[in-house]
Amino acid sequence: MVQVVVPGFLAAQADGRRHFDVEAETVGEAMRALPAADLLFNERGEWNRYLNVFVDGRDARERGGPACPLAGAREVLIVAMLAGG
């Protein structure tokens, strides 16, 4: 079981929940288990380009992106791009 933490905007699309406990072997599986998963991927199944995903503090892109293994992981943190004025 791993806990997925989503940004506030995404939580607003999922009844306000920011934390989800999911069973998944990879980051991609964990993200697809979320109630607003359609907002995380394009029609090719690729992550939207402005999403960053960290597994226990490490950038998932350095470990295979969606294929990043979750064995032993505690937290998947999804962070949207920062935007400024």
Binding site: F9, A12, D38, L39, N42, E43, Y50, A80
Partner: protein, 357 residues
């Protein structure tokens, strides 16, 4: 039961619902709903009252959203997408058009990259139109700064098989067989930047409207001029002399009662998207575009406003438009503009409907 006007005002940060009672005294502003979404266009399906919105987010992508309870709660359509073989992905949802009265549950969606979707299950799922997706001229289309957007969808009320779409920059395409095949109809429509300024395809149509009372008559505000066609797009007449300060602008409005009337909101030039001479004004023709007159009573004396292609609407009684500065204007009795709301986020789209509660 009071009957009034409901304006769906899409902004960069959500959808606002502006309601005017039939006493015309004022507007009530509700919202935002779809908070945080860029609402490129929203419309009410007159067949059943469902609200639909083409809502986009820079991080979370393009969506279609619908509400069966007047905007209180919203549901996303299933993911809109294009087949892998096309090599294309959907960049933005642009324009929603409910289908014909005799086709309940059918809707159309214009999207970037120059694609048309159809739904036959009231917006639950959307299928790309093969005739547009695989159009033989697609290699000659190219996107503008807003993308390769399909921003106009017009259904001929007199012929259930005829419809039009406009794509920036492909031009106007007409179908006579219910959307199976599409013919470019851009004769005499200029593209001043190209070596051949009158190509068959590649025009930059900003907005196209069909007149419901005379459906063979089409109006378009183009990147390079204002045009009218009286033969379903077979040929076009350029109309932007005789009173218009510039030929450039995005929106166009029509009077559903009078096919000879149209309204545009000129901007300075393709390089400078704001009111010419610091003066926001709507220009009206009452003679099919031969002459134009300014309508600025009630508009600010100084303004450098920009009005986007989806950000105007009209009904039998009035005209409506919103600016990127967050002001929403409606034409009141006496042909005076009233600023019904101000300080909204940048306005992307405006639609109006009769509304009762």
């Amino acid at each position: 039961m009071a009957v009034g006007v409901l304006a769906l005002v899409g902004t960069r940060k959500g959808l606002f619902l502006l309601e005017r009672d039939d006493d015309r005294r004022g507007w009530r502003v509700d919202g935002p709903v779809l908070d945080g979404w860029g609402v490129y266009h929203a419309a009410v399906d007159a067949r059943d009252g469902t609200f639909y919105a083409a809502a986009n987010h820079v991080v979370y992508g393009p969506t279609v959203q619908r509400s069966a309870d007047g905007g209180k709660t919203w549901e996303r359509s299933k993911k809109i997408g294009l087949p892998a073989w096309s090599g294309l992905t959907v960049n933005a949802a642009w324009h929603i058009a409910p289908g014909r009265p005799q086709q309940p549950g059918t809707l159309y969606l214009g999207a970037d990259p120059g694609v048309l979707f159809r739904s036959d299950d009231a917006g639950e799922t959307w299928q790309p139109n093969p005739g547009i997706l695989e159009h033989p001229t697609r290699k000659h289309w190219f996107p503008g700064a807003g993308g390769l957007c399909c921003d106009s969808i017009q259904l001929d009320p007199g012929d259930p098989q005829r419809m039009y779409v406009c794509i920036t920059s492909a031009g106007t395409l007409r179908s006579e067989d219910g959307g199976q095949t599409w013919l470019p109809v851009n004769k005499n429509v200029a593209h001043d930047y190209l070596p051949n300024p009158y190509p068959d395809i590649g025009q930059c149509v900003h907005k196209l409207l069909l007149h419901p009372a005379r459906p063979e008559r089409l109006w378009q505000q183009n990147h390079f001029g204002v045009y009218r066609s009286d033969n379903r797009g077979d040929s076009w007449e350029r109309l932007d002399g005789n009173g218009l300060p510039t030929s450039f602008g995005y929106p166009i409005m029509i009077d559903p009662k009078d096919p000879d009337k149209a309204f545009v909101i000129p901007e300075r030039s393709p390089e400078y998207h704001y009111s010419p001479n610091g003066r926001l004004a709507v220009y009206r023709t009452r003679d099919g575009g031969q002459t134009w007159e300014e309508m600025s009573d009630g508009l600010p004396g100084q303004a450098w406003a920009a009005v986007l292609r989806e950000a105007s609407a009209s009904d039998a009684d009035s005209l409506y438009f919103g600016t990127q500065s967050g002001s929403f204007f409606a034409l009141a009795e006496g042909e005076r503009w009233v600023e019904a709301a101000r300080h909204l986020p940048p306005i992307l789209s405006v639609e109006v409907t009769q509304w009762s509660r």
